[in-house]
């Protein structure tokens, strides 16, 4: 991944060490990161770089900072968590609808809106398409977990 990043993990770690947090938070790379854990695994100084990337994403999310190019990723992660908070388990169709709708309102990108539309019938043919997703029975406890964690200042 690093070769596609404006600031690869090495540079982000250095920025964090030197206290240049604002610059680190503006980097596209923190949202390009796929969480593959390779940087943490290979760091010769045993820095958990992927955990630092997580912390940078969490900070950027709190401050509402993400470059326009990477906003789609932030919208996706946010839509995913909203979905879990409501259903306890992931509802794929609802996630896709929310993500696509939300992203379109931001970027008006019509090709992106319809990009995966042809997949639906193909998934249906393979019995992989569930219009009504599963829900956890005790969704109250899921809502309370979210509430307690967010109140604790985690977000």
């Amino acid at each position: 991944m690093a070769e596609r990043m404006d600031a690869p993990p090495t540079k982000l770690m250095r920025l964090a060490q030197l206290g240049h947090v604002d610059e680190a938070l503006r980097a596209e790379s923190i949202w390009l990161c796929v969480g593959c854990q390779t940087c943490s695994t290979r760091c010769p100084k045993s820095v958990d770089c992927a955990a630092v990337m997580d912390a940078l994403r969490q900070l950027a999310f709190e401050r509402g900072e993400a470059s326009p190019a990477q906003r789609r990723t932030v919208i996706f992660q946010k839509a995913f968590l909203d979905n879990i908070r409501r259903n306890g388990r992931l509802n794929e169709i609802e996630l896709i609808a929310l993500f696509k709708g939300e992203a379109f309102l931001r970027d008006r990108n019509i090709p992106a809106l319809f990009q995966d539309a042809t997949l639906a019938p193909q998934l249906q043919k393979r019995r992989k398409f569930h219009l009504i997703g599963e829900k956890a029975r005790d969704r109250g406890v899921v809502a309370r977990i979210f509430e307690r964690v967010l109140k604790g200042g985690g977000q």
């Binding site: 969480g35 593959c36 969490q58 946010k78 306890g88 388990r89 992989k128 307690r148």
Partner: protein, 281 residues
């Protein structure tokens, strides 16, 4: 053998072919899966990207439920789930205050939670000798590229499984089934994971390298033990081919598919007929 079972969202959603395969193949090996009642999502990439404590709380609730339901071991066939479950376990072990707080947060006692197993570990528990003895139709024509992806082996301090750079455990399982795994370079490179929707370009580039390297080393199929890897390499394979100006025609099997085939189960029994790429060319 009876194991606690945490399917995770993917296996009850569009990766339900993986669950079908697991139930059929493990069932034929006398493994009973006891699904954790009222499990919830592990939070996946989204939780650890946006909120640290949530990424511990969601898996912790599932570990606590497993404990409450009397399961000492918890099989999590999705590596994202198993890694998150293990990460939460480690974080709580290292910080007793966090552990105490989590029991209150998730409304269940988290102490002494279940031990987490991935699919390869389940085959190791069954025993490769026993597996080999159960083979009815050795997979002698299959030359699989065993693809581990990221989270089966990384981060090593969390998952404590196999070798993070040169894993061999999946090769050992497929060799017991009579297949001839190829040596190749991309077994632990990332496929793009959960970026399928949000950042498709990343998935096309990363997954293309994996398919190209597998093909270049003479593989006639790929084997995975991860629902996200399967989505990217199987469902997206035509798109990846168009992006790279080629056609791969590489079937992507779950590890349980290979076990099932060797045990004499059919493609329809295992859900292989529901994959996107069904035959090699």
């Amino acid at each position: 053998m009876k194991l606690g079972y945490y399917p995770g969202c993917a296996l009850h959603g569009s990766s339900n072919d993986y669950e079908q395969s697991l139930r059929a193949a493990l069932g034929a090996l006398d493994v009973t899966l006891a699904e954790i009642e009222d499990w919830i999502c592990c939070g996946a990439t989204s939780a650890h990207s946006l909120n640290h404590e949530l990424a511990i709380a969601l898996p912790a609730r599932n570990l606590a439920l497993a404990r409450r339901q009397g399961q000492a071991e918890l099989f999590a066939p999705c590596p994202m789930c198993s890694m998150q479950l293990l990460k939460a376990t480690h974080a709580m072990e290292a910080d007793p205050q966090l552990k105490a707080r989590m029991s209150a947060t998730v409304e269940a006692e988290v102490d002494g939670g279940a031990r987490v197993l991935n699919l390869i570990q389940v085959f190791e528990r069954i025993g490769l000798d026993k597996l080999k003895a159960a083979v009815k139709a050795p997979l002698k024509d299959l030359k699989p590229a065993c693809y581990y992806g990221c989270l089966l082996v990384r981060p090593p301090l969390v998952v404590e499984f196999d070798d993070a750079e040169q894993p061999r455990s999946m090769e050992a399982v497929v060799a017991a089934l009579g297949a001839k795994p190829v040596d190749w370079n991309y077994k632990t490179e990332c496929c793009g994971a959960g970026m399928t929707m949000a950042n498709t370009q990343t998935v096309l580039e990363l997954s293309n390298r994996i398919l190209a390297d597998a093909k270049a080393h003479g593989a006639n199929c790929l084997v995975v033990a991860c629902p996200m890897c399967h989505v990217n390499l199987d469902m997206k394979q035509t798109d990846i081919g168009s992006y790279a100006g080629t056609e791969y025609h590489l079937p992507v099997y779950y590890l349980s598919d290979l076990a099932g085939m060797a045990l004499g189960l059919s493609a329809a029994d295992l859900g292989i007929d529901r994959h996107f790429v069904v035959e090699a060319r």
